[in-house]
Amino acid sequence: MLAGFADPVLDAQRAFRSVLDAMAHPGRVIEVATPETAPYPLHGAVASLCLTLVDLETTVWLDATAGTAEAREYLQFHCGCRLVDAPGAARFAVIGDPAVMPALSRFDPGTDESPERSATLFVQVASLREGHGRRLAGPGIASEVRLEVTGLPAGFWHGLRDNHALFPRGVDVLLAAGRHVAALPRTTSVAD
């Protein structure tokens, strides 16, 4: 079995701070503290997000790619979380292969009374690059930010637009590649 963070408390705090930064600045690519090794096929950043945000009170859904025996064992051991079979029942979803991911509308968008009880998606992508690609706007973005993501299907961006329209409900997305993350919270709109 693989070890988690070298220093479970400080590394998780560092990673949490990075996730806050990423959420506060949608589209910005931010490096996070990662464990030395991650279970196949998860990238270091995805393992780091799980170790930081998932615990015994949260439910997690894994897609077919991310749901290897190794990854399941890792999450259950280090996070103590409950794994669920239905995307709609999960607080956090780990998507290993975005090409065949379920529509964003399949995940829990929360309710109007408590929109914070919505799902957060960790989507593992091939690469993230700032300054090119999709134009993003919304809270946390002064003028505009461009984010180029390889590995996302075209339908994802349509789904993100519908998700944005649900505000205050909607899911939040954290894209992760290698040791980096970028956030696409529900408040962010995609221009093209």
């Binding site: 079995m1 693989l2 070890a3 988690g4 479970p8 051991f77 280090h78």
Partner: protein, 149 residues
């Protein structure tokens, strides 16, 4: 499997109830000490101990106790876990290593004989002494049945 987990439960219990010094001595007495990797470093926490009134009544919370847990794995891939009483990280780490080693049929019989059995005998002896000290203070209550009415 049931017998296997029963045996494991027994040695985990013996290791958890032994003192840190006893486990350390047993570890130093090993002829070959295997290399191991710490998967989860010793962490101290609290667990709620629950009891049942009279052993079979409604469950109640007796109180919290300090527990240290640790997980290690051996080069062979066998993982060992330990939850030990108190806040001694070294005790938890070594108990986890012993748990891993005892799951390996190559070492199990020898460790059982040299480590677990002596620790268990010592614990039983201590328990017997405490019971022997308190036995004379035992009071039996009984009621005489009256023959009339």
């Amino acid at each position: 499997m049931a017998a296997e987990s029963g045996a494991r439960r027994r040695w985990m219990s013996v290791l958890a109830q032994a003192s840190g010094a006893e486990v350390e001595r047993a570890w130093r007495a090993l002829t070959e000490r295997p290399a191991y990797r710490v998967v989860r470093k010793p962490e101290v926490g609290l667990v709620m101990v629950r009891g049942r009134a009279g052993g079979s009544g409604a469950p109640f919370n007796l109180g919290e106790m300090t527990v240290t847990r640790c997980t290690v794995d051996l080069p062979s891939g066998i993982a060992g876990h330990a939850y030990v009483a108190g806040r001694d990280p070294r005790h938890a780490e070594l108990a986890a290593v012993f748990d891993a080693l005892l799951q390996d049929p190559l070492h199990a019989a020898q460790l059982e004989e040299r480590v677990i059995a002596p620790l268990e005998a010592g614990q039983q002896e201590r328990r017997r002494q405490v019971a022997a000290r308190s036995a004379p203070t035992r009071v039996e209550f009984f009621t005489l049945v009256r023959g009339d009415d």
